[in-house]
């Protein structure tokens, strides 16, 4: 079992700092170069901030919130709070003030670390909603001169307080860390559930770490490996990859300079391990194909040949040496994947076509599956077995069961492992509902085990749709297929309790605008492009391609191209871009009715939220198109 004195994250930090003081733990690209922080630096920064918080009167068991983009000081602040026995609460950086207000109020956070003026602005707007907040610590002091709120504390100020306290009580930090117990709650992690207000899952130190150790058994990594942190830190999987794993195995974490230069910075590092969301993989695949489209004819033909040969090889379970030598070797280097040992995708299902595309390219991609409440992922595809549609095999410490399976074994997935969450913060009732009577956690996903014992996740249980004619289909599965097309940015498949399957599509603006320019099609705004007849024709062809790969009964009969993007600020998708079907059904009911009423036009009047939270309106006439299978269905019916 784990060494008793290493049962909390801060203790691991101290242990590593003594074991590898000079070895680099983190790097951040800032001002044009990569600044290196060794394990000793990591510990010293955490020590200063922890003692600073203590000097400010933050006590054990209170909640400290963190709001900002992925930077080393984010992780230091988290560890500092945990060192004092507090609970850390990560808030997504692009959150609207009202959402931040709810989280801080609900969690009764006493202190919050804000990255810069923009985040401080959001908190100061809350007024009474954030009454429990005693301190607001800001890191970047640019433009802070004009704020006079007494709760504001600059980063240098808190460090000064920390150093002062360190002088007065030299052993205070070690004492606080030692006081920490494995059972203390370390992290309050927001569940990216698709319901309205997110719940906070309580993750305790020791169980959380024990589960991550199991993860490392299945997907090992060491102190010489490199990881680049791209996905938002409040997400459970980023907490696992960027906070927990380095403490356990010493892997080095690298923070890019900015969101725009993230992929370029990733290439400079050449990571051995990365974790990206399906949306990022899909965008990258579309970007690769778009740039190849612009390359010379010879390169294009060579690339198409390589993809064809590579995909065929992947289906056979191995890799094509020749394609690798001529094309994919160079391609991996250009994307920064040359040194990848294992790349993970999680948070939502990744379409099999995108999956095969990257496997063919030689990227060791593996699907994860898990929930926030279960300390993140708990199933992973086995490395050497190349399968593109399963979520792999459960970890050694995890048991997975299918609850009341139907005729072909499909039912709700329930899971249990020792590293589970303690429950939802201040929400006993929700905690009880989450568990089955015998203590297994309901995941709310439908799936089944295939012959080789691999878990196949189909869709959310309540999203498994059944048409009025009894045809069962998974909207997410079809949506992923639609999103593989470079021109479709987002798709919502409908059909539950309806006669047939239909879809609402959103164009992928970057690709479609380039496609329009190449054909001299004039357009002005997103809305103007999305409602253009030629664009709708283009998407019609894409839908036909997807329909060809679907069983007859599940084919999309009718679709419409929406005049705006689905956006988290409008609540239509979660922060990690998972579709909120209830919101879509309610907000675009008019469109759905029009489609099923057989009309070919519909007027839509949608509300749009801008970056700073103020709203505007869009109204447009949308064309509803039939696909070829619609006519055949009509004939059959």
């Amino acid at each position: 079992m784990t060494d008793p004195c290493l049962d909390t994250l801060p203790k691991l930090l101290l242990h590593n700092a003594t074991r590898w003081p000079g070895r680099p733990a983190m790097r951040e690209k800032e001002f044009g170069i990569w600044n290196v922080y060794t394990w000793a630096d990591y510990r010293d920064r955490v020590r200063e901030i922890a003692l600073g918080l203590a000097a400010l009167g933050v006590r054990r068991g209170e909640v400290v919130a963190l709001l900002g983009r992925n930077r080393p000081n984010w992780v230091w602040s988290e560890l500092a709070a945990q060192a004092l026995g507090c609970m850390s609460l990560g808030i997504y950086e692009d959150v609207l003030p009202v959402e931040a207000g709810y989280l801080v109020g609900y969690a009764e956070a006493v202190a919050i670390f804000c990255e810069d003026e923009e985040q401080v602005d959001k908190i100061l707007q809350l007024g009474t909603a954030a009454s429990t907040l005693r301190w607001i610590v800001y890191h970047d002091d640019r433009g802070m001169r004009k704020y006079t709120d007494p709760r504001l504390v600059s980063w240098d100020e808190i460090v000064r307080l920390g150093r002062e306290l360190d002088r007065v009580e030299p052993d205070r930090f070690e004492r606080e860390v030692a006081a920490g117990r494995g059972s203390d709650v370390a992290i309050l992690c927001t569940t990216s559930g698709t319901t309205s207000n997110p719940k906070l899952a309580m993750l305790q130190h020791e169980p959380f770490l024990r589960h991550i150790r199991a993860y490392l058994e299945v997907d090992p990594r060491g102190p010489d490996d490199e990881y680049v942190s791209i996905l938002p830190l409040p997400w459970i999987m980023e907490q696992v990859y960027t906070v927990a794993m380095p403490l356990l195995c010493g892997i080095r974490t690298n923070f890019p300079e900015s969101a725009e230069t993230a992929m370029r910075d990733l290439r400079e590092i050449g990571p051995t391990h990365i974790l990206l969301a399906p949306r990022v993989w899909e965008q990258m695949a579309a970007d690769v194909r778009a740039r190849i489209l612009d390359a010379g004819p010879l390169t294009r033909r060579l690339f198409d040949w390589a993809v064809r040969v590579g995909t065929a090889a992947v289906e056979r379970g191995d890799r094509d040496r020749l394609a690798d030598l001529f094309v994919f070797g160079a391609l991996r280097d250009r994307l920064g994947f040359a040194r990848l040992k294992s790349a993970a995708t999680g948070g939502a299902a990744l379409g099999p076509d995108t999956f095969k595309f990257f496997l063919a390219m030689g990227v060791p991609l593996r699907q994860l599956y898990g929930q926030t409440e279960l300390s993140g992922a708990y199933t992973l595809q086995v490395h050497d077995e190349l399968d593109t549609d399963s979520s792999g095999v459960p970890f050694p410490d995890t048991e997975v069961r299918i609850e009341d399976p139907d005729e072909n074994g499909v039912g709700e997935i329930v899971t249990r492992h020792a590293g589970m969450f303690k429950g939802y913060f201040k929400n006993e009732e929700a905690t009880r509902d989450a568990f089955t009577p015998d203590g297994w956690m309901r995941t709310g996903d439908a799936g089944y085990f295939d012959a080789k014992g691999r878990l196949i996740v189909i869709d959310r249980v309540k999203d498994i749709a059944r048409t009025s004619t009894g045809v069962r289909f998974s909207p997410q599965f079809i949506e992923n297929k639609l999103k593989f097309s470079p021109y479709i940015g987002e798709a919502v498949v409908l059909g539950n309790r309806r006669p047939y399957v239909t879809a609402i599509l959103c164009i992928r603006y970057s690709m479609v605008s380039k496609w329009a320019e190449m054909r001299r099609i004039g357009y002005t705004t997103y809305q103007n492009l999305a409602t253009n007849r030629h664009v709708v024709d283009l998407l019609a062809d894409e839908v036909e391609k997807v329909n060809a790969a679907l069983p007859e009964s599940q084919r999309i009969r009718r679709f419409v191209v929406l005049c705006k993007e689905l956006d988290p600020d409008d609540g239509e998708v979660t922060r990690t871009r998972k579709v909120r079907r209830s919101v879509i059904d309610e907000r675009y009911a008019e469109i759905i009715e029009a489609m099923y009423a057989g009309r070919d036009r519909v007027h839509v009047d949608a509300v749009v939220t801008f970056e700073d939270g103020r709203t505007g309106r869009i109204d447009a006439d949308l064309e509803i198109r039939d696909t070829s299978s619609r006519t055949s269905f009509a004939r059959a019916a």
Binding site: R27, D333, R334, A338
Partner: protein, 354 residues
Amino acid sequence: MIYRETGQFRTSYAEDQAIFRLRQDKIGIAVILAIAWIGIPFIADEYLLRAILIPFLILAIAAIGLNLLLGYCGQISLGTGAFMAIGAYAAYNLALRLPALPLLLDFLLAGLIAAAVGVVFGLPSLRIKGLYLAVATLAAQFFADWAFLRVPWFTNYTPSGSVTAPPLDFFGWVADTPREKYFVCLAFACLTALLAKNLVRSRIGRCWMAIRDMDIAAEIIGIRPMTAKLSAFAVSSFVAGGAGVLWAFVHLGSWEPLAFSIDMSFRLLFMVIIGGMGSILGSFLGAAFITVLPIFLNQVPALVGIQLSTAMVSHLEFMIFGTLIVLFLIWEPHGLARLWQIGKEKMRLWPFPY
């Protein structure tokens, strides 16, 4: 294809400001230096050394000198041949009249004298620009031609005006075989390239490029146009003077003023334009091209069987140079260096186009 840049990150500004940042480039330059220092001397025969490599290296040095002035500072000069002549005769007279001085000191002083003269002829560039400046540098060319022909003191009163260089002994080591002369030239070429590259990427280089791109904008950020232009003239003439010394002492052995006539100035101008204005590598590429072309013109027709008289070859040479100048100015004003850069960029990006 060969460029694998994944995993090359820099943790300090020193690394980021290095001349060769990419590992592949570091390997590339190491290989080139190895070939130059170890490979060529032992496999190249005497003809190759004497007829191609030594003139190429010396002309490359002179081309770097002109490139600093024309490519980096934007001041045209048709008088580089004159500054080479001044360097050569200054070194000759120093060696003759002050034999105590070590040869290297003669080279250095010769370069400084050429630099001083360069500044004098650079003075007009302060008030006049572009084309008028070309005239001022032409004046230098004709003045030097005349001086070394008509003022016997320079040529130590020899009747024909031709003089012979003293033996090349650098502190005892005498370079007389073609291979040793090759090493001397190579050493100076590498040194000049390094110094020029360092100048160009530090303050003075940026001042020159500012003057070249937009002298009004340069003035408002504190650059004194006078010092910037004169420093460019001085450095350019110093390097040209040094090249002149090498051309006379190492390549020719004995020479008369005609060796540094206006033809030399035009050939250097071609090297900089075809090679690539504003690029140290361009100076080497240009020098190689202009040195090899005439030899190529002599050999190839013979192989193909057409017998060309030497006069015809020189006419052809003129025509080809003329055509190439026009072609490069239209098609790629930054010359071979830019083509090299585009090729390298393609290799770094393949299979992507951008």
